[in-house]
Amino acid sequence: MLLSQLIYYERSLDTPWIPPLEPPAYPNGCQVTPRMTLSDRLHQKISGAFYQHGLLCTSYPVPIIFFTAVCILACCYPLLKLPLPGTVPEEYTTAVRDYSPPPSDPQAPQRDPSDRPDWYVGPPVAYIQQVLVKAVVSPWDQSLIPVDIFRSPLAQVFQLVEEIRNHVHRDSTGSHSLEELCLQVTDLLSGLKKMQSQLPEHGCLLVSPGNFWQNERERFDSDADIIRTVHQHESKGLHTSATVKDLLFGVPGKYSGLSLYNRKRVVSYTITIALQSYHARFLSSLHSRLKQLHPSVNCSLRRDQMVHVHFKEEIGIAELIPLVTTYIILFAYIYFSTRKIDMVKSKWGLALAAVVTVLSSLLMSVGLCTLFGLTPTLNGGEIFPYLVVVIGLENVLVLTKSVVSTPVDLEVKLRIAQGLSNESWSIMKNMATELCIVLIGYFTLVPAIQEFCLFAVVGLVSDFFLQMLFFTTVLSIDIRRMELTDLNRCFPAEACLAPPKPSPLRPREAHQQQYKRLRPVTPYTITLQPSSFRNLTLPKRLRVIYFLARTRLAQRIIMAGTVIWIGILVYTDPAGLRTYLSAQVSEQSPLGKSGGLPPLSVFPVGDPESTLTVLPHPEPTPLLENQSQDQQRPPWASQRDQPPGPDNTPEISWIPPDEETWRRLSFRHWPSLFSYYNITLAKRYISILPVIPVSFYLSAQDAVEARHPQDTQRFHSHFPAFDMQAEQAPEPPGKTLSQPDFTLYKAAALGLVAGVILVLLLFCLYRVLCPRNYGQNGVSHGRRRGRGELPCDDYGYSPPISEISPLLLSGHHMDIECLAGDGMLLVSCCLARQIRVWDTQTGDCLTVIPDPGLRQSSSGVWERQERWEPEPEEEGLEAGVGGYPLRRRLLPSRPALFGDQPDLTPLIDTNFSEQPTCLGHANEGARGGFHFRGLLERAYEEHGATAPNIQGYSPSPAPCSPCRRHSQGDEPLCGPNPRPASCLPAVPGDWDSSVWALELQGSLIAAGRSSGKLELWDALEGCLHCSNEEGKSGITALVFLNNRIVAARLSGSLDFFTVDINKPMNLLQYQGTPNRGSMPPSPCYSSDDVICCQLTHSVQCAHQKPITVLRAAAGRVVTGSQDHTVRVYRLEDSCCLFTLQGHSGGITAVYIDQTMVLASGGQDGVICLWDALTGSRVSHMYGHQGDVTSLICTTSCVISSGLDDLICVLDRSTGIKLYSIQQEVGCGASLGVISESILVTGGQGCVSFWDLSYGDLLQTVYLGKSNEGQGVRQLRVLDNAAIVCDFGSELSLVYVPSVLEKLD
């Protein structure tokens, strides 16, 4: 709770005080209406419309953004129909039965249009017929060498090719040979001379492994090293496009089995025939012929599906370079554009919003065009940069600039609206021009340009739409955010100040215990470190983080990584990623694995009916040892490897993936094959016919016969240890079979390890970035946190060096309301209307003013008891005995009483003091009360244990008026003095009004009461010098400067009094106070001077509304009022110099000092700096979200506190907020500055010291232990650099030794 509110509330009890009801007026409202030339009505209208639109956008940001998002999504919906960009071929499967090539006319009626892709029109480039050959030497003989695995199987290809070439189908329509049907190719491309020997020219496009040897068996037989021949054209490095080996073999290299280490001993390859036209009967006859010749018994491959593969246009490197260049230019454009965004909260956010605006407008444009039937024919990637450049980011930037350059003091709404309307004309003009240019382009009648222009027009319009709705709203949100944090310059210290107190989360007891344990002897932890250590004691980890953040290391690494990645992509080829990924996936997927290991082909399939006409197939020989091994395999091997197989018998050697072996090939296989003959497949398709399976079973004898003489020789030189291997040969199959499991385990283990490492890494990162241990009471942190739960500093600073010990001044029974003091004396007034005067050096209570009779009589006891000097040893003793950190020094019997129930006294007090009936009760005589009290006092001393309740009761009548009335006249007023009272007695009824303002000068106390009475008391003797009752309205504020007193009243009037100090015998002066007439003035002998107070001038209507603040310095009196104005008066002649207007709320805080610096803060959270000499406004800053509750200026900064419990430190010259300190609730207003460098703030039961220049927490001083919940609401810095703050019903006096030294 705020003090001012408290006071208002309090006052409302006495006088009805009506808060201002009228809505706040905007002083700058005149700027709201944009000024335009009247001649241009259109201009004006546009501006007006934009202004209204800006208001709309700022008023409903969330609905508008939502609406825009819905619009964008709705417009982009048609894009779903468009094919995704990418070069991966598309597939379309039809049944082989009843196949006929699709008509080339796309308009022809289609049976199933939804199913059929657009490209499926016209005949394909070619029909691909593959004959998949699997050959195995079986049974395997121990005498065979590895070359035998593939030599004789490969030798079969020549015969098979011959067979296919010579196949002729005869039927009623005549005879058809392959030559008629196949795709005739001409020359190879000129650049491919070296492949001339491998690829067919001038004839059928029929490729097989036999092409390596020009389809001549003799060459093959004489070839000593088959593998080298096959691999001679392999290129090195990263290469995903098809190699010659892949092209000729028709199966990926790893599946061909062409290796010396082929454990499965199956060789597979294809003979690929490209057919020009589809002839179903020819193909079926070929199939049946081959099946007849080389039956694959257990083959159940399906033959009913025909796959059409459509290839997209691919971008070559030659086209890629200009494309990349345009994109680089585009990014440079975006970079240079968004770099201009300035003076906003989040540059990145706005830049992103700008880019999003442009991109989504493009998407909307394409979507809308598609919706209305235009199918884009242009290459999206190519025209995209130009579209972006044409649409441009200019409008967005112009908007931002315009909004940002509007006056900062305006409301966000008005700023946006004004910014929009300022630029409305140029935006409209630009857009009209661009539309004109684009429309001109539309009339070039070139289809491509027309399409581009159409996109651009729609894009421009939708971009305008998005700018107006989306970007403006985002901008308004951003500006609003900026207003909230107000150009927050992040000081490192603020990072740790920002988090609010986590106090409710923690049990207080734990802290207290810890606190005790840590500091058993000295209860007040004071740690004021030398400032040299403080400034740059960042922990190393934070320094590392800051370093990383400063150099943007991570960003650069990511950028470098991206560049490298892009480089690799470009190197491999334009669509490299997809290929690579698909290759990876197919390699790693279990299906691919199982396809790679046709497990049972080694198993000698007993096919007695295999009628090999070409080669005599040997009888199945008796089982060899590896066969017996194999026989153990099938039950589980087949289960693993062929779960999806339709016929799951262990004898199957043809597995479903074999149906489409071409899928395992690179998808660039066919385009590259055709491109060798200068046939492009881009935007065309080929039809892949079902594969024809062919199996060869060769005997060991065949294999031996097919050997080349050098084979054996080379084998023995290379594999001298083969015999040993052969013995172990049976084992590997099992090993290879369980390999997938191992890889699975490996992957799982790797994943687990990676996960653990990731978790550890994140944990470390968390520890580094977030050093606080939230969950536990760390010793090091617990100490620093203490009980106050202050926003702590996380710097590991050195242990305390000096200690600051607060003095507790107790005596008031209720909460302290007013506080005034100078270097020597301190005056306080509590809610019980008791005024006490304290010595700031010793902490003694010198005088108690309000209750003269009682005080005086009891003073013999009380005064003595309350006087004490702080002695260190006693303090230590107390703390040691009770473990109780209160420093109140009491009689030995009393601590227990007070300690047990410390709260009772004020409680009961409250009840009594508020009761008006107190008057009647006291009528019987204060003397009785006094005796009663005296008795009690005695009893209290004797029976300490039972006394507290009564003791709590006994002083309760003290503040009541009758006691005082009794004391009038015959009793001396001044407490400690035994001599008769010489001061003016208190006026009856005077004590009914509470003290609202207190001022102290020298030994004179000026007290302003709610009844409008101004009283002057002697501070040392406690007697009333004079009082003035001319004003009836309550005095809300007082200023006592030199010999003048200025009183501000609730009615808004301002009274100037002059205090005259005369010689004692001059009684005439006393007559001057007219209201005193009823009471015979008695001369005051106690002081040398007779003091009187004269109203010299009264400004009746200083303000329209109650004056809330009054300050005076340098001969000026400054008043702030609820009527939004600040007035400056001259103290000498009470002449109003200036009326300062600029706030849009009531003034709540004013500061003026000797250098004529005038600052004012209002309910609107605005802080204004004025020049008190000229009355001009120097600067204007937004500090708080609520009222500004107090203000202090130093030479360099302005410190303000607000209702939002935030203390803002602003730079005085620039108005930029340096940092802010989060205060505890209700303690926001208490702040002070010691010697321009240390900021003192109050907290919950503690006072904190901050380094003003860095915002570091220097130290926290805890005032007491028992009153934990008590917040420090008022805080004064006295002239001797002591700090006085209220602490519930007590006052606390804190000395800062180091500061004292500084002052000296």
Binding site: A318, I321, F336, K340, E382, Y386, E394, P671
Partner: protein, 228 residues
């Protein structure tokens, strides 16, 4: 890229005071730096745009892709680079002599936009299928004048652009007559009629870049004068 890093270092110079200041305020060195930057930009653009003009090959992966970048004569890019350096230096020079400094849209973003539009014009001339050459020429002429109007709008710029277009066309024409190289299909008086338009747009673009580069010198000199 080389140009980018140079531009960056150039833009950083005014901020980081020190030896750079003396370098950049030295008129000759500054001129040289600008010339080098403009030359490299010109060479780069020439290579890229030449690549753009190379008609798409039917084969997807011709074995000599990289070679096609340098398919034209080797001296063409350096010539264009030199020309662009001259143009880029000439524009601010003429501005200074005429006493009307160019103030319209003096920002890097605008320059980038200009370059992008220029590349776009080239792209359009290379890729878009026009019905006839007259249409192509007219479109390109309109686009070029649109470019001037959008990014330049100064009379001196227009005049210089026209002069460059005329002069460059004349030079190419002479070269063609000499038989140094020849067009695939001359359409109007042995000249590809779109050539002047491209030259005009290129002149405007390079002038734009040159003016922007010259801004730095002006700024630094002004600042220096201010400091003195």
């Amino acid at each position: 890229m080389v140009e980018d890093s140079k531009l960056k270092s150039l833009s950083r110079m005014p901020k980081t005071r020190g030896p750079y200041i003396s370098v950049i305020t030295n008129h000759k060195i500054n001129l040289t730096i600008r010339g080098v930057v403009l030359f490299s930009i010109g060479v780069f653009l020439a290579l890229v745009l030449n690549l753009l003009q190379v008609q798409r090959n039917v084969t997807l992966f011709p074995p000599d892709v990289i070679a096609s970048i340098f398919s034209s004569a080797w001296w063409v890019p350096p010539c264009i680079g030199t020309a662009s350096a001259v143009i880029g230096l000439m524009y601010p020079c003429i501005d200074r002599h005429l006493g009307e400094p160019h103030k319209f849209k003096r920002e890097w973003s605008s320059v980038m936009r200009c370059v992008a539009v220029f590349v776009g014009i080239n792209h359009a001339s290379a890729k878009v299928d026009f019905a006839n050459n007259m249409q192509l020429s007219l479109t390109l002429a309109a686009l070029s004048i649109g470019l001037w109007w959008t990014f330049d709008r100064s009379r001196s710029g227009f005049g210089l652009g026209l002069f460059i277009a005329f002069f460059a066309t004349l030079v190419t024409q002479l070269l063609v007559y000499k038989g140094v190289f020849q067009y695939t299909s001359p359409d109007f008086l042995y000249v590809r009629s779109w050539l002047p338009c491209i030259f005009f747009a290129g002149g405007i673009t390079m002038g734009n870049i040159g003016r922007q580069l010259a801004m730095y010198e002006c700024k630094v000199v002004q600042e220096k004068a201010h400091q003195d």
